[in-house]
């Protein structure tokens, strides 16, 4: 083991010890701890936990590279994955919090008083979250494997082992505070390299304000090389595809169960609004930095690699060529390397930046620990979601409603442990379809859940038949369009990743048509929907609003 591996490993082990320490300190004692951290998480810290929950291994490692390779078209991910928080915070989160349940399927089941709707929602939640989870664990394995030069399956096992301990023990309460720690680690690791790189390239330590000139410069370089400009819009696809992808990512983000459930952990609607604001601020730091990474690394490649003689490339390229992430297919025309000769893996950008900028072993080790933190924090939130769908929605609400609190807590722990092990085994050798499904998770989540959650909160006339029809119709439309698009059938130039547009539209139409063609929902369900318009202190009942301003109990 060389010095670099030793430093990385030490940093990773230190962070693991921290995560386990936190979950021992904050271990769950009752079911409410286990699923919603007793609803006592302050908005500021919940915002940070949402940041950790949200930013996955893919955000941390892959997103900057995607922007670098795709140019303007890659920005759909930056806007889509942040814009979802507008929809979530304005349209769903506070109201879902007032409704006051443990899970998303539970909201759907209770709001429409339908166990069929509950079961469909629980199964869809499990499928979406579970595949996403496998993607995280596989991602963490790849990261550990590459950085420590060990086989990636050992990396997966290490990740699974750690997370099984801390999620089982701490439940949502433990996961919340580990996510806070993981957020702080991952954001520090992400920002430090670009600050140094900015000092080297522009002489200014605040890259966010000054990297514009680099972007402009990249356009000039591209023009000179006869390529289409870095910032040229819709170079990789069409405007319709960009807009469809943007829409799909936004509604998908707003409808992902593991994100929504974090809003259940705060005390009130007001706290839910503040959570959303803090969350996007903390998330924004990474999302505003990704295009900076993209611009700087492209700048370095254009200046130091492209146009150089093949036998005189910078030293850092050699290591990445060896890993297969950077391929040089040089024909050696005129002895100089062309941009077209390079095949660059998107993952290289964040991981290679510390080497490019000569930042030394400690920063490279931090990137490793940060990538692990990103994978584990998302995996933790997903595990809670998967296990609560099994143990709470299916076992407690459908199979055994008389279960005692202790028994439910035990069921939750068993579900989370089993889910970790199964996901871990699948992640050892992930079927190729997994990465695909992760890319489709947003279309599936948006197409299945968004319209039903939105109308469940805002429209009292929606009934259970409409909700069931909407969820099934949205899910199948999304699946069918993805299948068709993969086989070359494209409508309006929209590819498989933009399938959410069709799923969401069909879902909305079905909910409206079926609800209006079938009977009115019972009055108490309508009242519950109208009740969500007001803060906790106001209650709506049979056309009258009551204000509870007695002080204390």
């Amino acid at each position: 083991m060389d010095q670099q591996a030793l430093v990385s490993l030490t940093l990773i082990i230190l962070t693991f010890a921290l995560y386990i320490g936190i979950s021992v300190y904050h271990r769950a004692k009752v079911t409410s701890d286990f699923y919603v951290a007793s609803r006592g998480v302050p908005a500021f810290w919940n915002g940070m936990a949402i940041g950790g929950d949200w930013m996955s291994a893919a955000s941390f490692i892959g997103m900057a590279g995607t922007v670098m390779l795709m140019g303007y078209d890659g920005l759909a991910y930056i806007m889509g994955w942040t814009g979802g928080y507008l929809l979530l915070t304005f349209l769903l989160a506070p109201q879902l919090r007032k409704f006051g349940r443990f899970t998303v399927p539970e909201f759907i089941g209770d709001r429409f008083d339908s166990n069929v709707a509950r079961l469909i929602a629980a199964i869809a939640t499990i499928i979406i979250s579970f595949t996403y989870l496998i993607g995280q664990l596989a991602g963490s394995g790849v990261v550990i494997g590459r950085l420590l030069s060990i086989p990636s399956w050992i990396g997966v096992l290490i990740g699974v082992f750690i997370i099984a301990i801390y999620a089982t023990l701490g439940g949502m309460k433990g996961v919340t505070w580990t996510q806070v720690a993981q957020y702080l680690i991952l954001i520090t690791a992400y920002v430090i390299p670009i600050v140094f790189m900015s000092l080297q390239i522009t002489g200014n330590p605040l890259p966010w304000l000054t990297y514009g000139s680099v972007v402009d410069n990249l356009g000039a370089i591209d023009r000179e090389l006869g390529l289409s400009e870095y910032f040229a819009p819709f170079d990789e696809g069409s405007r319709a595809q960009f807009l469809a992808l943007l829409f799909t990512l936004m509604v998908g983000t707003a409808a992902l169960p593991h994100v929504i459930v974090r809003f259940y952990t705060v005390s009130t609607m007001k706290a839910a609004r503040w959570s959303g604001a803090w969350a996007l601020l903390f998330i924004g730091i990474l999302y505003l930095s990704a295009p900076v990474y993209a611009a700087f690394s492209r700048f370095v490649i254009m200046n130091d690699v492209v146009g150089q003689p093949l036998d005189d490339l910078p030293a850092w390229t050699e290591a990445w060529v060896n890993t297969g992430l950077l391929e040089i297919t040089a024909s050696g025309e005129q002895g100089e390397l062309m941009w077209e000769d390079l095949i660059i893996d998107a993952d290289i950008v964040v991981m290679a930046t510390p080497e490019i900028a000569n930042l030394g072993t400690f920063v490279i080790g931090m990137i490793a620990a940060g990538a692990m933190a990103a994978a584990l924090s998302t995996a933790g939130g997903l595990l809670i979601t998967v296990s609560s769908s099994f143990a709470h929605d299916i076992y407690y609400r459908l199979v055994n409603p008389k279960a005692t609190d202790a028994r439910r807590l035990k069921a939750g722990r068993i579900a989370i442990f089993v889910a970790t092990i199964v996901a871990g085994i699948l992640a050892l050798d992930p079927p190729g379809v997994i990465t695909q499904i992760v890319a489709w998770a947003f279309a599936l989540a948006g197409g299945t859940f968004f319209p039903v959650l939105f109308l469940g909160v805002w429209w009292s006339r929606i009934n259970s038949k409409g909700a069931v029809a909407g969820m099934l119709g949205g899910l199948f439309t999304t699946l069918i369009y993805i299948f068709l698009a993969m086989n070359g059938f494209i409508l309006f130039g929209i590819e498989d990743t933009g399938a959410g547009v069709f799923g969401v539209t069909v879902n909305f139409i079905l909910v409206f048509v079926v609800s209006l063609l079938t009977e009115d929902p019972p009055q108490h369900l309508k009242d519950e929907a109208i009740n969500l318009r007001y803060p906790e202190q106001m209650t709506y009942e049979e056309g009258e609003v009551w204000m509870d301003d007695s002080s204390g109990k």
Binding site: M79, G83, M538
Partner: protein, 101 residues
């Protein structure tokens, strides 16, 4: 518990909806709106912070706007709450621990 006019409660609701519609419209314009006109913007040669305007909005402007909108929403809604005499500590007691279903 005391009964309040449905009218008052509805005014609270309308104030909130108005905010939501305003904020979502702005959020929609800075993201979808700019993307829709990205090509003419690219040709127009308008620059923000040293880069072409459409690229700036995608890489930074839209996200920054979203963040500002969310904080405005939180602050203004707190004001609406105060105006209607909503007491957050009472809210916490009512929802305290949440309904344990």
């Amino acid at each position: 518990m005391r009964k309040i006019e449905k009218d008052v409660a509805d005014r609270y609701f309308r104030a909130r909806v108005k905010l939501i519609v305003t904020f979502l419209t702005i959020g929609f314009l800075v993201s979808f709106g700019i993307v829709f006109f990205a090509e003419p913007l690219n040709q127009s040669g308008i620059y923000i912070l040293g880069m072409p305007a459409h690229y700036y909005m995608g890489a930074q402007g839209a996200v920054a706007t979203f963040i500002v909108l969310l904080f405005l929403n939180a602050v203004i809604n707190d004001r609406v709450d105060r105006k209607f005499g909503i007491d957050e500590s009472r809210n916490e007691q009512i929802s305290g621990g949440g309904s344990d279903h």
